[in-house]
């Protein structure tokens, strides 16, 4: 496929990292469900273990099917490489633990997925890694929160739950001025809507469970490295990231930044984090996610098209107090969204139903096409009422402080006929009105 330019996004979504199987001629990617791979001889074995050759040894470290997924996501993001993990949470953990340890500090957006917030606020704190949370739009706050022991800045392309658009160019500039990388959770946008590396991010991860897979069948994550962050320069200037620029006793005294000028982070993450924490992805899962990625461009276009119609419907409905979608002029991130997300702001958003918590429940129960569950990014439309589920233990005052109204509903718009989705919502809104 060599030519004067790289293939386009849709071509990469189908082909990057894969070719007809050289062993069998199979056109579709085979699933290499094998824990381990035979060495040609003792010398071959030793050279694989000593990183004198590239290849597969054991599927916790790498696998031929999983490697295709890794290359494909890296290609779509414009990165240098990637590591597939057991879940999006595992990808976040791997990113952090590759360059942070006890005594390290993180500056993170306060508008995060609940699981990420739990990891940073409670779990990693038990292991000595602390986090300062700042509002994603508080630019001075990002800068002020950085300390000598800070190791990375972290935010979501579209923050939870209000869809605050992360100002990646500005926040990455703050990070780089301080000799730090910016890690971005790009789950809600996928590379079809935005490539964070083009705006200055250094590391990106996905919960591939969501749009990349798109079919609600598997749990997985992918961590991608741009390869552009200069770990040696940051070490020289600030004393950070000795994990990458100094000998590592746990792998033959290897200095990862010498082994690869652009792959140091991924080499350490694979040879330490995957090896020791073990949160790897099954090749079967990788194959299912690849099936989803093949149609990612088509699905994302339809997700956004449907979402725009439903946002317009809800914004004009008498039972709806507010719709939180950045393409609407009243949204706080509207200007940033126009600049960074011209293809659309995804298909997950929330709206506030007028009325009580009970009316919110009535709305949910009246829906027939939308599935009531705790996930997003499926090809089927999904709904959840935080006040009666994920945040049910909070009283109204506590909900308000978390930015959640009693009638707030979160939707994940799927690929059904938009007219059917609108009819479903109409019926449910009527039920909510009657429940007053």
């Amino acid at each position: 496929m060599a030519g004067s330019s790289d293939p386009g996004f849709d071509t990469l979504a189908l082909h990057a990292g894969a070719a007809p199987d050289p062993a069998t001629g199979a056109r579709a990617l085979p699933i290499y469900l094998s824990t381990s791979f035979v060495f040609e001889n003792s010398e071959h074995a030793a050279s694989l273990f000593n990183m004198e050759r590239s290849g597969h040894v054991y599927s916790r470290l790498s696998n031929p099917t999983t490697a295709v997924l890794e290359e494909r996501v890296a290609a779509l993001e414009g990165g240098s490489g990637a590591i597939a993990t057991a879940s999006g949470q595992a990808a976040l953990h791997l990113a952090i633990c590759t360059i942070a340890g006890a005594g390290s500090h993180i500056v993170a957006s306060a508008a995060l997925y609940g699981g990420s917030h739990n990891l940073l606020a409670y779990t990693l704190a038990r292991f000595g890694i602390t986090t300062t949370f700042v509002k994603p739009g508080d630019i001075d706050g990002w800068r002020a929160a950085i300390r000598p022991e800070t190791r990375l800045l972290f935010g979501e392309t579209l923050g939870n739950p209000g869809l605050d658009v992360l100002d990646i160019p500005t926040v990455s500039a703050i990070a780089h001025d301080a000799g730090l990388p910016l890690l971005v959770d790009s789950t809600f946008t996928t590379p079809w809507l935005m490539k964070p590396f083009e705006h200055g991010a250094d590391l990106v991860f996905h919960s591939a469970t969501k749009f990349l897979s798109g079919h609600g069948t598997v749990i997985g994550g992918v961590l991608v490295d741009s390869g552009g962050f200069d770990w040696d320069a940051a070490h020289e200037k600030h004393g950070r990231f000795s994990e990458l620029s100094q000998p590592y006793d746990g792998f033959h005294g290897m200095v990862f930044s010498e082994e690869s000028s652009v792959g140091a982070f991924l080499l350490r993450a694979r040879r330490e984090g995957l090896r020791d924490f073990g949160a790897c992805m099954s090749p079967h899962t990788a194959w299912l996610i690849l099936q989803g990625i093949e149609t990612l461009p088509l699905r994302m276009a339809r997700h956004v098209e449907n979402t725009r119609r439903i946002v317009a419907f809800l914004a004009a409905h008498a039972m709806v107090a507010r719709v939180g979608y950045p393409e609407l002029e009243g949204h706080p991130s509207h200007a940033l969204a126009k600049r960074l997300l011209p293809r659309g702001c995804g298909s997950v958003f929330s709206f506030d139903l007028k009325g009580s918590r009970r009316q919110g429940q009535a709305f949910i129960e009246a829906l027939k096409i939308f599935s009531h569950l705790a996930n997003v990014g499926d090809c089927r439309s999904l709904v959840i009422h935080p006040a009666s589920t994920t945040h049910s233990r909070m009283d109204d005052a506590a909900l308000a402080s978390a930015g959640i109204a009693p009638g707030m509903i979160r939707l994940s718009i799927g690929l059904e006929d938009a007219d059917d989705l609108i009819d479903d919502l109409k019926r449910a809104l009527k039920s909510a009105e009657k429940a007053a």
Partner: protein, 270 residues
Amino acid sequence: MKLDVLGHEAYAYTGGKTFDAGLPCIVFVHGALHDHSPWTLLARWFAHHGHSVLAVDLPGHSRSAGAPLADVQRTADWLLALLDAAGVQQAALVGHSMGSLIALEAAARAPQRASRLVMIGTAYPMKVSEALLNTARETPLKAIDMVNAFSISSISAKPSFPGPGMWLHGSNRTLMRRTQALAAQRLGINLFAHDFAVCDAYAGGLQAAAAVRCPVNFILGERDQMTTPKTTREIAAALKARVVTLPAGHSLMAEAPDGVLQALRDALTG
């Protein structure tokens, strides 16, 4: 390891082992806008199999200080000075693309110091189109994208380099951008335009070939669009080179790491 070469600090990767000038030495010389890192798998293998290795960063590239030298001849002199600094009397010289011309010229200038010469992804003359030279001068990032696309012949080269999960198009582009940015930041120069002009201007290949005394091997990519195999015939004949062609493009070490290793083992130990 770091060496002082002609008054500037020079970096050479030693394959994960302490450099031992008493072992048979292999010197790896990178191509335009690269550094030592495309060699690391090969360098590690030879360093752990009875050799000492020096995979250099040329002046002005990544970890080596000083300005890039003006032409192939002066860079070859620098390479010989690096051997002096490392205490190496004789070495096998292995170069890729622009680095292959530097290795050739060094083997010609000091025939007694070159035990073997291996030219990978090479051509002579290594002419660069005026259109690409202009693009390199005016919009180097665009030129990097063009060269990157021309250099890698597959979007599924396995097992990938330096390990599984690496996207060769992305990692090669990032390496070139990084090397370009470092040179711009430290030296205020357009290294891409410089390196391609050096390749284009080199006219001493046949003269150098006449002076080379050691066995010569070529390792070529059958799908190479940057230095096509047909452009090597005259220089290969002049050097009486043994030619091995691999199913790869210009980025042979990344696209066919095992094939290059086998060909190098044959060339250096056969």
